[in-house]
Amino acid sequence: MTDVPEPLLQVDELRVTYRSQHRHVEAIKGVSLRVDAGEVLGLVGASGSGKSTIGNAILGLVPVTGGTIRFAGQDIVEVRPRERKVLARSLQAIFQNPYGSLNPTKTIGSTLAEPMRVQRQFDRASIDQRVREVLNKVGMPDDAAKRFPSEFSGGQRQRIAIARALMLSPKLIICDEPVSSLDLSIQAQVLNLLRDLKAELGLSMLFISHDLAVVRYIADSIVVLRHGEIVEQGLASRVYEDPHAEYTRTLLAVAPQRRRAQPG
């Protein structure tokens, strides 16, 4: 047909409705977006905009009411638990809360090994070697594998959560507010790490955040979400310099100002 490459992730007219006993809440009202190979798409919105719901729908953590989600050409809306295991090799996730993202009762080594163990095709030696590799990749010492999450700070735990997502060398990582609960100085460390990994491994990411500055640093293009609908999308530089939607302008206006005079 054409020589436009197929996108890695293609979401079309996605709808998610949460049902409680008495009412239905339409969290996502027909959202379409795509992530190409090697691209980082920033998904921005205030809390309640539905940005995390989109991530969870792609990961199969919330039921989809309508629309399609295609990953590497395959429809993944109706993926059965067994096929999810195969999908896990190319689709991974990092979540917000660094204190809840690791099982406190398992050593770091055991937590990191799990994605490979689930696949049931790697021997112990190759798993151990991979654990050391990813730990080094995220800037953690080898001996971290023997220790428990309680011995690490929030920033270190988030590095470990990133390491776990890297274990199977995925193509796409859904990053759901990966830095928002960290100190700013630690956010900078983790963001640099994610950007280095993107450059080094050619990773694609769907980067979900309420903080435009953070998204601007890492994203190639941006989707702005409000009340479950897209209000603006485009290249990151364009959205920042020339926001078309009124809502984007409001978001940009309230973003922390650079109060400090630019150092000379």
Binding site: A46, S47, N56, L59, L61, P81, R84, K85, L87, A88, L91, Q92, F95, S101, N103, P104, T105, K106, T107, T111, E114, P115, V118, M140, P141, K146, R147, F148, P149, E151, S153, G154, Q156, R164, D183, L184, S185, I186, A188, Q189, L191, N192, L193, H210, D211, L212, A213, V214, R216, Y217, T250, L251, V254, A255, P256, R258, R259, R260, A261, P263
Partner: protein, 649 residues
């Protein structure tokens, strides 16, 4: 100038700890009560399996010469009405008691744990399981037990029925402990990489909830023991002449008027066993949690011993116009070895009326603990090891707890990072504010409610009457923080401690909250101690900044001076390492490494391992605060170096 690259955390290499089953058993045995109950229960099990090992005699052998005797050399626990040795009969009765306990415990665990875990993971299963549990709970258990015994006279069968009847309790305990765990992101991560539900339940949920399950199982076991004895006592499920503990109790009750002693050993063994099982359940739970909980590494023990808290010098009188003044405040936490670990060292600063001062630093630097010390709400075990806290010119450091509590709310108020946590979901917002008003002012209900609406207006909430009638779940995070501020204002405080008040909020709401705090500061002359890691928030609200690193104040300065010309490498690093200062296409500047834990703090410069300017003498001795200009000081030996290079450019 300096491009800082994240480096692996410089942490000690020997922080290993005992994990796995052998370590757990060893830790269990180091607890006196745990060890005692293990020894007792081991003897119980031996008696049950091989009673001959512990009691050489025959439990049926009568000694007609000594009927109903008190303890003698030949019969250490005396004899019963047929002259049979009570000690021997107790040992031979252990088998039946253990069988009963195991029967009830295994049946309850086999039903309760899987059903509880399954209902926490699946709503559909939950619907079925909770109906079934309700049904079982509505059956009167004593009638079932009597019926089983009436038809079979088999005590083990009755105990199995008891296990079934107590399973719903275990299901509920398991389910309610597991529900918060299945919401955790690591469970979502496990789903993402394709781990099945059963594996998630076993690997990721069960280890987290095993504590309450063990305690509940130990209660079920003791319940089974007592019920079995009770049934035996009522002459049910007995197979004479085989001894059983309940049977012994039955026999002693028959002869109570002739010989009161016999009831002591037969009742005592049941009581002792119950106590041992409960203690073991508790000890096992504690030990299980310890194997992955924080602390207890060898490194911490070793260092803690080495660190000595310096005696505080006599505190200087604070300046007169300060509402709040800290002088050389030092706080320690208990170390695992019983020593004290300093977490805040020699912190001094003043806040004047109507002034906002920012306490800036990363997590783990002692900012929040300093705030809690000012409130007089240090966590258990933590103590003020030196220095003083002055409120309105009065030293409040040594005040009794009651007087200290009187200051809270009325003079010093507090808002936290998580406003929702501060609100009780069961009561309306207005009721909670009115409660605070009544506690502090003694107003009547109607007047307090009016005052609550006034306070809501003061925190810039439109339609205060409508919001006052809302429940916490009906309002947004930003609104909840406004309500928390209204509650803080209820007692007309002079000092507000705001601990990261905007961190959990959306960027768009953060500015509004800061604006609100700023206007309250102007209108009411409120002094604000703002604890934050975010220079933007600090610069919008505060005139002066106190930068803390690893328990110490490292720089004190006016905010604009600190921003334009930081005089400590840590201040400089914090200012630069901010994603909001991003220049597209360039890596973000960072401070390499992490804040070290208190056990790793050196006597010399605390920042040395992360500092780009570090020299040999930084590692040699404690660094004093030195004045670096009007109204500012810094804890750095090489302030000039920073001055000459200026902010990294």
């Amino acid at each position: 100038m300096t491009v800082l690259i994240p480096s692996p955390a410089a942490t000690d290499a020997d922080g290993g700890r005992q994990s796995g089953a052998p370590g757990r058993i060893r830790r269990l045995l180091t607890r006196p009560l745990g060890a005692a109950s293990v020894v007792y229960l081991l003897l119980f099990v031996v008696a049950a399996i091989a009673p001959g090992l512990l009691a050489p005699g025959n439990p049926q052998a009568p000694d007609f010469a000594h009927v109903l005797s008190t303890p003698t050399a030949g019969h250490i626990l005396g004899t019963d009405s047929l002259g049979r040795d009570i000690y021997t009969r107790i040992i031979y009765g252990a088998g039946q008691s253990l069988a009963g306990i195991l029967m009830a415990g295994i049946v309850a665990a086999a039903i309760g744990i899987p059903c509880g875990l399954a209902s926490s993971l699946s709503r559909r299963v939950d619907a079925v399981v909770s109906r079934a549990s309700d049904l079982v709970l509505s059956i009167p258990s004593i009638i079932v037990l009597l019926m089983v015994l009436a038809f079979s006279n088999n005590l083990n069968l009755a105990m199995a029925a008891l296990g079934l009847l107590t399973a719903p309790g275990l299901i509920r305990v398991t389910r309610s402990a597991a529900l918060p765990v299945v919401e955790e992101p690591y469970v979502a991560a496990a789903k993402v990489f394709g781990l099945g539900r059963v594996a998630i339940a076993i690997r990721h949920v069960l280890p987290r909830v095993i504590g309450p399950i063990l305690v509940n199982l130990s209660l079920i076991a003791t319940h089974a023991l007592i019920i079995a004895a009770g049934l035996n006592y009522l002459d049910l499920g007995l197979h004479p002449p085989t001894p059983s503990w309940g049977g012994l109790l039955h026999d002693s009750a028959q002869v109570l008027d002739q010989q009161a002693w016999t009831i002591v050993p037969s009742g005592g063994v049941i009581a002792l066993t119950v106590i041992a099982i409960v203690l073991l359940g508790d000890a096992v739970r504690d030990v299980t949690a310890e194997s992955w909980g924080p602390g207890h590494t060898r490194a911490i023990r070793r260092r803690a011993r080495r660190m000595v808290v310096r005696p505080a010098e006599p505190p200087a009188e604070p300046v007169l116009d300060a509402v709040l003044a800290l002088r050389d405040l030092s706080i320690t936490f208990p170390a695992p070895d019983g020593g004290q670990l300093p977490v805040v060292q020699d912190v001094s600063f003043d806040i004047k009326r109507g002034e906002a001062v920012g306490i800036v630093g990363e997590s783990g630097c002692g900012k929040t603990i300093t705030g809690l010390a000012v409130l007089g709400m240090l966590p258990p075990g933590a103590q003020i090891a030196g220095g003083s806290i002055w409120v309105n010119g009065r030293d409040v450091t040594g005040l009794p707890a009651r007087e200290r509590a009187g200051l809270r709310g009325k003079t010093i108020a507090f808002i936290s990072q998580e406003p929702m946590v501060a609100l009780d979901p069961l009561f309306t917002v207005g009721y909670q504010i009115a409660e605070a008003v009544r506690v502090h002012t003694g107003l009547g209900r109607a007047a307090a409610w009016r005052r609550a609406e006034e306070l809501l207006t003061q925190v810039r909430i439109n339609e205060p009457d409508r919001v006052a009638k809302s429940y916490p779940h009906e309002i947004s995070g930003g609104m909840a923080q406004r309500v928390a501020i209204a509650i803080a204002l209820a007692g007309n405080p002079e000092i507000l401690i705001a601990d990261e008040p905007t961190t959990a909020l959306d960027v768009s709401v953060q500015g509004e909250i800061i604006e609100l705090l700023s206007s309250l500061q102007d209108e009411k002359g409120l002094a604000i101690m703002l604890i934050s890691h975010d220079w933007e928030v600090v610069s919008e609200l505060c005139t002066r900044a106190v930068v803390m690193y690893a328990g110490q104040v490292v720089e004190r300065a006016r905010v604009e001076d600190a921003l334009d010309d930081p005089r400590h490498p840590y201040t400089e690093g914090l200012l630069a390492a901010n994603p909001h200062l991003v220049v597209p296409g360039e890596p973000l500047r960072t401070i390499p490494g992490n804040v070290p834990p208190p056990s790793d703090w050196p006597e010399s410069c605390h920042f040395q391992d992360r500092c780009a300017y570090v020299r040999a003498d930084c590692r040699a001795q404690p660094i004093p605060m030195v004045s670096t200009g009007p109204e500012r000081s810094s804890r750095c030996l090489y302030v000039e170096l920073l001055e000459s290079t200026g902010v990294a450019s």
